[in-house]
Amino acid sequence: MEGIVLSPSDFAALLNQTLEMAYPVVTIEGELSNFRVSKNRWVYFDLQDELASIKFFGTVYSLPGPLEDGMKVRVSGSPRLHPRFGFSVNVLSMTPAGEGSIKKAADLLAAKLQAEGLFDEERKRPLPQIPEVIGLVTAAQSAAYADFIKILNERWGGVEIHLIDVYVQGASAAPQIVRAIEYFNALSRLPDVLVITRGGGSAEDLASFSDERVVRAVAASRIPTLVAVGHEVDVSLAELAADLRASTPSNAAQLVVPHRRETIAGLGVAKKSVFEVVSQRLEAERRANREGREYLTSQVLLLLKNLQNNIISTRKLMSVLDPQAALKRGYAIVRKGGHVLGSIKGLKGGDRLGIQLADGTINAEISGK
């Protein structure tokens, strides 16, 4: 090569060709520094250790979430010599590395999503009481899947389960889970509930469930979501974004369907209380009816009694008015020429009178006046 003179562009092209042949993709882990985002799209940073500092270039789409200088990250990318700006590694993917950095990254992401309102209680929708179709996102070969199905069948039968088998850890887990959620949400007949679950594991194993893409897909789901990640300490961000979270896959099955025995018992109680309510109502109506009837009867009888009392007083009055009664007491009615006399005026000696007593009439003549 010594005798060959190259132009700067030729040299850059030649070096890039060599780099591509020798190191198509390299993975480097180091401390993040000079991290900056330009125009909301381009990302520049360095990875360094005690002796070296390497420049990186990428897009925001390759970021695992918010990052800060000082965090330890693992970056996969292609080394390149840019004809103008010099050497850099073009980022293909990057993840936080080491427990401290993973936690730090998760905290930063959590704060950002929290601020956006993805975890707000007001967003939570109730799950259907008894789902007919469940969309299940988990690994088909996992204990999580077996536990979920076992507990589900113990509690409630006849639920249709559509499983999408995904990786639940590793680099492909997050995109697969996202695609599964999007697939279910695009169906013409939506499942009644989405269950996204896996068993416990190390913080690194569970990282996909705090991946920003997964968290956003869970939050955006039109179908109510239940996320269950078996673990003891931290809650994954996908669980916070879900409508409901469960502690384990078994617990998810407990929350997603009622127990048939409890439901049947509940129905029995409901039946009894409905019967009681109706009986009480009937009894109250019957009593009111009976009281009304008794009151009515007593009112009518009272009215009749009053009328009868009136008649009795009228009878007493009539006995006073009876002309015969007066005659019986010794009074007499005196007539002259058929007319009843009320006065002695106009009478003279020799006039003939009729005198009626109780038991008959006598004829008499006035002898003097």
Partner: protein, 67 residues
């Protein structure tokens, strides 16, 4: 029931008129005896009317008590 109540009222009005007549001054014995008899007749009718009504009410009450 309304028809019967009206009948009773008619009898009652008639009786009141008769009693009013007795309370007026003119006294004609024959007329008085006639009206007296009329009044007594009315009173009997009213009494039996009331008795019938009472029996009917009691019978109805018993009939509907049993259910």
């Amino acid at each position: 029931m309304a028809q019967q109540a009206k009948n009773y009222k008619q009898m009652s009005d008639e009786l009141n008129k008769l009693i009013e007549w007795f309370e007026s001054d003119e006294l004609n014995l024959d007329e008085a005896v006639g009206k007296y008899e009329q009044a007594m007749q009315l009173i009997s009718e009213m009494e039996s009317h009331l008795k019938t009504a009472e029996n009917k009410v009691k019978k109805i009450a018993v009939k509907f008590e049993s259910d």
